[in-house]
Symmetry: C2
Subunit: 148 residues, 2 copies
DNA sequence: ATTATAATTGAAAATGATTATCAATATCTA
DNA sequence: TAGATATTGATAATCATTTTCAATTATAAT
């Protein structure tokens, strides 16, 4: 349980309670580097925690997203996918997405170069269009090995 | 009607018929630079063409996307938005997206630099992960002037 | 021009992901 | 420990998009 105490604190700051479903969902997310759908999570948790509600999973993921603990990615196949943000600074990455099956691959090649460009662009755009920019996506779309 | 004949030909090549709904939808898309939802289109067309079905709009947009005539963008607010691809080479652009209201702003600043990096990254990733890459997205997310 | 074929349309119903409701329960604070 | 209130899970509701299917229309062949 990597950041368990940090998580608890983050929750308390926001008047959120530390509950079993939340702990179990965070634990699952921290055990994988994959990008999971709500249903993926529901399925994985079922053996350890039958009775957990899909609704709770959606609510928890939304909360974690609001607290900035997870990334939420739209793979274009209709469902959202979630992955835990790692505290590790060098973890920033971008995505390669299969538009057929929704698979998401993290990549870190050239990310440093991309980030420099992103920073420059972001500043210019924020000013020019009066946007409060909070995030960016760089993603390549196509068909994965299995789906092509 | 900018590319009307090109469109007709593109349709014929694909055993697709040139119909009134398709012409009207393309005409509408070619009159604006905005990114429209299926419902936006349905609403705009209603006066000129009452009786058009929302289903037909979805089907046509999907077809246009398959033929490579429109961009399909997921603004993260649940609906997809569509914009006609311009034949003009210099039209390539990336997006600034409001996560609250779904507004999409095209930007062309720094796009040249971005494209060089994109090209390099795309080649490396395609080889490394055995993906057939067909497209890319570079988007900045945040709140627009009205929504912040 | 007429006809035959197959693509297209639109209404209605179905789907599938996500959200809202609400009574029961669990967590936290004092 | 007890009370205040945040959270849960079952259920129903939304909402965008798809599917079905009989009627209509565009195109190719006569
Ligand atoms: Mn990722
Ligand atoms: Mn655009
Ligand atoms: Zn795939
Ligand atoms: Zn906005």
């Amino acid at each position: 349980m990597p950041g368990r105490y940090q998580w608890q604190n983050r929750f308390r700051e926001n008047v959120c309670r530390w509950t079993v479903p939340r702990e179990v969902i965070l634990a699952l997310l921290s055990r994988t580097t994959e990008h999971l759908t709500a249903k993926d999570i529901y399925g994985s948790l079922y053996s350890m925690y039958p009775g957990i509600g899909l609704t709770t999973i959606y609510r928890t993921l939304e909360l974690l997203h609001r607290l900035g603990l997870v990334h939420k990615v739209a793979a274009g196949d209709g469902q959202s996918r979630y992955a835990l943000k790692r505290e590790d600074k060098g973890d920033h990455h971008h995505h390669l997405i299969c538009t057929k099956c929704g698979k998401i691959v993290d990549y870190r090649d050239f990310v440093q170069e991309e980030l420099e460009l992103v920073k420059k662009t972001e500043e210019a755009l924020a000013k020019k269009h009066n946007f409060a920019i909070t995030d960016h996506n760089i993603e390549f779309l196509g068909l994965c090995e299995k789906c092509r």
